[in-house]
């Protein structure tokens, strides 16, 4: 009966294998698949949070401060902003101006911009629709205006542009660096956080210029005796930032935060994109995206949403300054890559690894 023997031997072997496997799995339940040293999943780029609007107060003419509270909020550094989804679905970004050490609340301030001076409804909704106790969806914080370590700083804030600068002043003071700040605005009544800036700076470091009393600020005087290689941080209306860029002494580095990202559709820059791997260069017209220009040469370039949220068109950037317009990439990813469907070049030329 060789057949019976075979069946018995097979059954015995199966039983033994099963027992051995059971033991092995009990010992280590995830045996035997190998694993990556660190999982790549489970680390989303930005998490959505629902926060409570705990306080809303008018801190200057036309400026309201919002305090959003939650539990164990993600940490942030001076210069960071929050993406706020308003009840209507509008998405707006506002700089954080509170204390980074406070993990129970985020503080923002916004100025009402009427529609006839270019407002697009976001600040109006913040001012008119938001009530204390409302639940608001936010994403972030993210930082595109980070305070880099330096021995000397010059801060220039115009009006509501004080919001990202305010936490920077505290950080600069704490680091013991040599710093000064120019805070200008239309009139003192409409300039938020004036007392706080005065308290942090004391008289020696602060210049306050209210246009209705003293006219335009004297930037030349501000930079007259500035230390070598100071870091300059400026946030304010476009003309102010242009003026700062003009008088900037050699050796100083300029960091700008625009409140209306330089994105007026009619005024887009034309620039060149070199596709290094395929050895071609394309010109991106003012009214087209980098993606559209690249696809004329390389029609199989992957993309999908064309609005900067799905991440399919992310490409490595080898050289050139990027004007990031997406809401997806992390600050680390922004260093060497871009979403070519929405982001553009700042300064005329980009080199892509394509």
């Amino acid at each position: 009966m060789p057949r019976l023997h075979t069946v018995a031997a097979l059954a015995g072997a199966a039983l033994l294998t099963r027992r051995a496997l059971r033991r092995r799995i009990e010992h280590s339940p995830l045996w035997p698949l190998p694993a990556l040293p660190v999982p790549t999943s489970g680390r989303p780029r930005a998490r959505a949070l629902t926060l409570t609007l705990a306080r809303r107060e008018e801190i200057a003419d036309g400026v309201v401060q919002l305090s959003l509270t939650g539990r164990e909020l993600p940490a942030w550094e001076p210069g960071a902003h929050l993406e706020l989804t308003l009840p209507s679905g509008l998405v707006r970004q506002y700089s954080l101006c509170g204390d980074p050490a406070d993990t129970s609340a985020y503080t923002l301030a916004t100025r009402l911009v009427p529609a006839d001076s270019g407002g697009r409804g976001g600040s109006r909704e913040v001012h008119e629709e938001l009530r204390e106790g409302m639940r608001l969806r936010v994403r972030g914080p993210r930082n595109r205006f980070a305070l880099k370590s330096s021995h000397a700083y010059v801060f220039v804030a115009g009006g509501i542009g004080i919001t990202p600068i305010l936490p920077m002043l505290r950080a600069a003071e704490a680091s013991g660096a040599d710093w000064r700040v120019l805070y200008c605005g239309r009139g003192k009544a409409s300039m938020p956080f004036l007392d706080e800036v005065e308290k942090i700076a004391g008289p020696g470091r602060l210049t306050v210029v209210a246009e209705d009393e003293a006219g335009l600020p004297d930037l030349g005087a501000l930079f007259a005796d500035v230390p070598q290689a100071a870091a300059v941080y400026c946030c304010g209306p476009e003309p102010l930032m242009d003026a700062v860029a003009e008088v900037l002494p050699a050796g100083c580095t300029l960091h700008l935060e625009r409140f209306t990202a330089a994105a007026p559709a009619e005024g887009e820059e034309v620039f060149e994109v070199e596709l290094r791997r395929s050895g071609r260069t394309v010109t991106v017209a003012a009214d087209e995206s980098v993606l559209a220009a690249v696809r004329k040469e390389l029609p199989d370039t992957a993309y999908s949403c064309e609005q900067g949220f799905c991440g399919t068109c992310q490409q490595r950037v080898l050289a050139g300054e990027i004007d990031h317009r997406d809401e997806l990439l992390t600050d680390g990813e922004r260093d060497g890559s871009m979403l070519i469907c929405v982001s553009r070049a700042r300064g005329g030329r980009l080199v892509l690894d394509l």
Binding site: L36, S41, A48, R120, T163, A302
Partner: protein, 312 residues
């Protein structure tokens, strides 16, 4: 046997629809660990999705980006481009649940590291000579995705109709995530299979990759459910069992074993086409009422360009 060769996949043409990614976003702070109250087994069995999908759908996108140059049909290319964006958003949405699970005391990292290895290393781009070998491996993966999509569409259709989850008081945010995802899976269920037919379509490859995908899914799913049950900090002696799976199927909390078994011959039928299953109408109707999809629509309707940081 004589007539089987002649049977070709028959699409239901009325089921075709233009695809586009929706920019959804979910906030998880208020979702409890057992988001189906008092039913940890069902919760964790469904939670396995959050473990498999981020890595799996990123892998879909990775493979499909490589297959774009081989698509010669413009409508299919449009569909694949829409599909890629939808899958990328699914991966992002499920990825956001994982840190929340960790905060609740259930750290998924050990299992995630394995799933990530599977999709990024085992099923990733092997070091292959350009030409036939590389193309073979690409098409093999395209066929695998088509087989997996048969099951995601099956699950999507199931979750859209799973009224028992509502009756049991499941967390609304989680239900919306599952149903938004399920509806998009039903919406784009034909794309992966049509792409497979377009680039290769051989029946032996369909059977082979189905067998691989099906065994891998069963293996990964039961192991994920066991992993969650064993590591749930609130359960004394958490265990996942086949018996409980069958029982939950009968209660309508999970797909039934019978429905799953019946879906096998359907995929292996030579005349199979995904548009014969599920209902695009139902999926579109859900997407028109889903809180997350509506919020995405509202955000898109108004200018979404990243603008002011203080003013406007």
């Amino acid at each position: 046997m004589s007539n089987t060769q002649a049977r070709l996949p028959k699409p239901v043409t009325s089921e075709h629809i233009a695809l586009k990614a929706r920019k959804v976003s979910f906030a998880w702070e208020e979702t409890p660990l057992h988001w189906i109250p008092g039913d940890p087994f069902t919760t964790h069995t469904i939670n396995v999705l959050h473990l498999l999908l981020p890595a799996g759908e990123r892998w879909f996108v990775h493979v499909y980006k490589q297959v774009l140059p081989y698509i010669e049909d413009d409508r299919l290319r449009e569909d694949v481009i829409g599909f890629i964006g939808q899958e990328a958003m699914h991966a992002q949405a499920h990825d956001e649940v994982l840190p929340h699970l960790k905060e609740l005391g259930l750290d998924p990292a050990p299992y995630l590291a394995q799933v990530d290895w599977l999709f990024e290393k085992l099923l990733g781009d092997r070091t292959l000579p350009p030409g036939r070998a590389r193309k073979w491996w690409l098409y093999e993966r395209v066929a695998l995705i088509a087989a997996i999509e048969h099951y995601t569409a099956f699950l999507g259709d199931w979750v859209l109709n799973a009224d028992s989850l509502d009756r049991k008081g499941a967390d609304p945010t989680m239900l919306d995530l599952l149903r938004w995802h399920g509806a998009e899976e039903v919406e784009h269920r034909s794309v992966a299979f049509e792409l497979f037919l377009h680039v290769d379509g051989s029946y032996s490859r369909r059977v082979r990759t189905w067998a691989t995908a099906f065994s891998a899914l069963v293996f990964l799913w039961q192991r994920g459910a066991r992993f969650f049950m064993a590591n749930d900090p609130t359960l004394e002696d958490g265990r996942a069992s086949w018996r409980e799976f069958l029982a939950k199927g009968r209660q309508g909390m999970l797909p039934t074993a019978g429905a799953m078994a019946r879906s096998i011959p359907r995929y292996l039928d030579r005349g199979y086409h995904p548009s014969q299953e599920g209902s695009t109408e139902q999926a579109v109707a859900y997407l028109a009422s889903s809180p997350a999809a509506l919020a995405a629509l509202a955000a898109e309707a108004r200018a979404t360009s990243p603008l002011p940081k203080g003013a406007a």
